[in-house]
């Protein structure tokens, strides 16, 4: 750990519950030796884990390069919101990274670019596009696709040597299924300043459903729907979700019912109709050969979207327009 009087610039919160193997990969992807253009003193990782039958091994965590802090907590509430807020209390950085699902591994440029996005503006909301490992959204995978299959693939591809290899076996996550020039429905790894988290009073503890329900969607929009926020997308980077039996990414029989309940709760907080964040993003970063097809796909979908909205005479970035009107004296 850095000394008490030297706070890092960034604090990254990783919330974990019953996903030992996947979370360990996520933490490996946050190591200093893996992340590029960033020093150990630039950031700390706060791992908040709700107790389960399969918890992280503190000794393994202590061997990671970088400043990791692991907190195993007793919580019977089924939601990660309390863990998030406890982690926010512990964060010493000015720029907070939130990974509310600890099964999301990162590519090597995320922290370096997030650091620069903050240098550009403390009002940057820096979003890392989400992917699911595997060739389709994980809830649509056949029974033969399991956590074991995925972990074997990860070992074979030696992702720790080149994290951009993850793009080779991935699919856009449902949170940004049309690519990153469409409004983000949710984002499983994003960064915002401490003051912006404070402004929304941290993570809303009313989201008490299993896995927090749609808390992640609520959180992103709560932060992003502010005129002084600049949405940034790290186009060449990604967060990659691993199969772990998650609430919405597992094809259970009651999945649809649960999602409906999550949506109802979310809509109730947004005047009956929640919208993805419809604000024009700025893209930032290098595009490696592995991520170039995803940029092309996103760009094509953006063209499709603009054609469609033009036909319907609707604005491309409705939230930008509303915020502009609200700002006018």
């Amino acid at each position: 750990m850095p000394s008490r009087d030297t706070s890092p610039l960034m604090s990254i919160v990783v919330v974990v519950y019953d996903m030992k193997q996947q979370a360990m990969n996520t933490l490996r992807s946050l190591q200093t030796k893996y992340q590029q253009q960033v020093a150990a003193s630039d950031y700390e990782v706060i791992v908040v884990e709700n107790d389960s039958v399969s918890t992280l091994n503190p000794e393994e965590i202590s061997k990671l390069s970088g400043n990791f802090r692991h907190l195993l907590r007793q919580d019977t509430s089924k939601t990660p919101v309390h863990a998030c807020n406890e982690a926010l209390e512990l964060c010493r950085g000015q720029y907070i990274g939130m990974i509310i699902d600890g099964a999301c591994m990162l590519t090597p440029g995320v922290l370096g670019w997030a650091k620069r996005a903050y240098a550009m503006s403390e009002h940057s909301l820096c979003m890392v596009p989400g992917y699911h490992l595997g060739n389709k959204e994980q809830q649509n995978q056949p029974d033969s696709y399991s956590s074991d299959t995925e972990q074997k693939w990860l070992s074979s591809v030696r992702w720790q040597e080149d994290g951009y290899r993850l793009f080779k076996n991935a699919h856009f996550s449902p949170g940004n299924k049309h690519g990153y020039f469409h409004p983000f429905m949710e984002c499983s790894c994003f960064f915002a300043s401490r003051s912006h988290f404070d402004r929304i009073n941290g993570v809303d503890e009313r989201f008490t459903q299993l896995g927090g329900g749609s808390i992640n969607l609520h959180l992103l929009r709560s932060l992003g729907y502010n005129s002084d926020i600049t949405p940034i997308v790290l186009a060449g980077e990604g967060n990659f979700h691993q199969v772990h039996g998650g609430v919405t990414t597992t094809p259970t029989t009651d999945r649809e019912k649960r999602i409906k309940s999550f949506s109802d709760e979310l809509n109730s907080h947004w005047d009956g109709q929640f919208h993805a964040l419809r604000r024009e993003p700025i893209i930032l970063g290098n595009i490696r050969s592995q991520s170039l097809p995803w940029l092309k796909h996103s760009s094509q979908r953006a063209s499709d979207r603009s054609t469609l909205l033009k036909q319907k005479r609707k604005p491309l970035w409705a939230d930008d327009e509303t915020l502009r009107v609200e700002l006018k004296p």
């Binding site: 970063g285 170039l292 953006a302």
Partner: protein, 306 residues
Amino acid sequence: MPLQLENTLYSLSPEHQQNVTKDDYEVIIIENSSNNTLSDTSIKMLPKNFRYILREECGVSPVPALNQGFAESKGETIGILLDGARMLTPRVIDHVLACNRMLKNPIVAVPAYHIGEHEHENYNTGREKEEQELLKNINWKKDGYELFNHACNSIANPRGYFHPLMECNALFCSRESIKGINVGNDAFNLLGGGSYNLHLYRSLGLNTDQALVILPGEGSFHQFHGGVTTSKNQENRATLLTQFNEQLNSHWGGQYKALAREPTLFGNISEQAHPFMQTACDNGMKRFSRFERFGETPWPDDAGAH
């Protein structure tokens, strides 16, 4: 080129550039005297952060004018448009300032386009009138990104920005960087400066301590004006180009190469810029595959970068 210059100057004005004010930047116009200079009326109407300098120049190169412009400039970040016929899209200045907050002394390059379906060296002089008429009709002053809908990639980057750019016609870097390469190199004394712009881009871009940023959603748009290399009926065009190349190569150990450094992309992408992004991606994927097959890096000039 008064008609073209007036468009370029409007595109640089605070009225057109978004999210910036006149206090954020200055524009220094250095014009070499000719029979066709910017009118007094136009000069009087320039925004308050613009300065116009008319100079007598007996040579045929813009390099001495560039040196004078640099000497007159006050900013810590310098933008160079060596050809006054290049109009800019609305967030160039905003994004350059953002890049400078984010990175230490970045080199920021704006991709180049030609107005029209084809590169300008394919057109005769009649093109000028036609093109200015087009610009009047497309209302680019209301939405500067409309220019993308009436343009093609420039010959300097025909395959887009995942290929090395041969030159850059709207280039931004720190004052220190320009001092480091001794500003304009007077040896480039051929007509129009010959290939000085190519020399400048590579000279500045080779410093791997400085990130190379490309603004994929912005553009510099060349208007036809009978330029040295961008007109079909320029007498002896082929001979001139050979001379330019020979002079350029003589400064680079016999073989000049486009700057092959991995770019950082930055900026918003308007709906009009997306088709160019898709073409750049297609061409980039082919290029990356080719390098992968041979086990080579697509960005050899990054070697030694830190």
